[in-house]
């Protein structure tokens, strides 16, 4: 996150040095800054900015795809006369711990295909999810973990 702010600042600096803050200059500045920050050696450990940024891009692409799939499924369900829905409320034990992680997880769950976050348990260890096309709790939890939570935590941590 800090690296990203540095990246933005480098982009601004680049554009300011060229004497012309245009979208093109900002973009080239951002790209150059990105390469520098990805290569740079911070505190003698290899920088994770490059892989981290890639994880964020993968997460955003995955969530974007989920939003589209979710809409097609819900639209189909609404537009066709037969109701195929088989709802259930499942408990999902999450690995997300911080406020930001839990908030983003529930946000993505609400946009993911056929799921809707209902409640976060008081001990903040589990969320309760309303599922539109239910199978079993085990299958649902495994899918949610692989499709959403692991990519999310990989992008955040």
């Amino acid at each position: 996150m800090t690296a990203f702010l540095w990246n933005l600042m480098l982009a601004l600096l680049w554009a300011a040095m060229l004497g012309n803050v245009t979208p093109e200059n900002l973009l080239t500045g951002f790209v150059i800054g990105f390469v520098l920050l990805a290569l740079i050696d911070t505190q003698h450990v290899p920088s994770r900015y490059g892989t981290q940024a890639w994880n964020v891009v993968r997460l955003v692409a995955g969530v974007g795809w989920d939003v589209l799939v979710a809409n097609v499924r819900v639209a189909y369900e609404i537009a066709t006369p037969k109701l195929l829905t088989r709802p259930a409320i499942y408990r999902y034990d999450m690995e997300a711990r911080t406020d930001a992680e839990i908030t983003l997880l529930t946000l993505i769950v609400t946009f993911a295909p056929g799921t809707l976050a209902l409640e976060v348990s008081e001990d903040r260890k589990a969320i309760y999810v309303h599922v539109m096309f239910a199978t079993t709790r085990e299958a649902f939890c495994q899918e949610l973990r692989e499709r959403v939570e692991i990519p999310l935590l990989r992008a955040l941590r």
């Binding site: 979208p23 939003v67 589209l68 979710a70 809409n71 819900v74 639209a75 369900e77 609404i78 537009a79 109701l83 829905t85 088989r86 709802p87 259930a88 409320i89 499942y90 408990r91 529930t106 946000l107 609400t110 946009f111 056929g114 809707l116 976050a117 209902l118 409640e119 348990s121 008081e122 903040r124 309760y128 309303h130 539109m132 239910a134 709790r137």
Partner: protein, 123 residues
Amino acid sequence: MKEIITAVLLVLGALLMLLAGLGLFRMPDLFLRLHGAAKASSLGVGLLMGAAALGLGDVSVVARAALGVTFVFVMTPVATLLIAQAAFRAGIPLWERTHQNDLEEHHPAGAPYEPRLGPDGED
């Protein structure tokens, strides 16, 4: 070409909003209705904003459209979660074909909700 894409986005967005509205009538219980309302309406707004940004093509319009879409995509899940939570705590009945309810044992539907203290002393 730009006009065609703008038109397609506008029609798709409007269609999604229509489906979201229809979903409110078609779905059997409140929680299933929320599915349609949360998903279809937010993507619908996104498409309409995208159409506006593309059609007008002005930097200030694009910036505002992007900001609007971001707000909608951040706020909708929060609002949906709060509505669902409130409904569950108030004891709104689930559709009778809901085949499993893990939340029931955690907090019986319709029972008065008593906040328990969290780790930092807040609810």
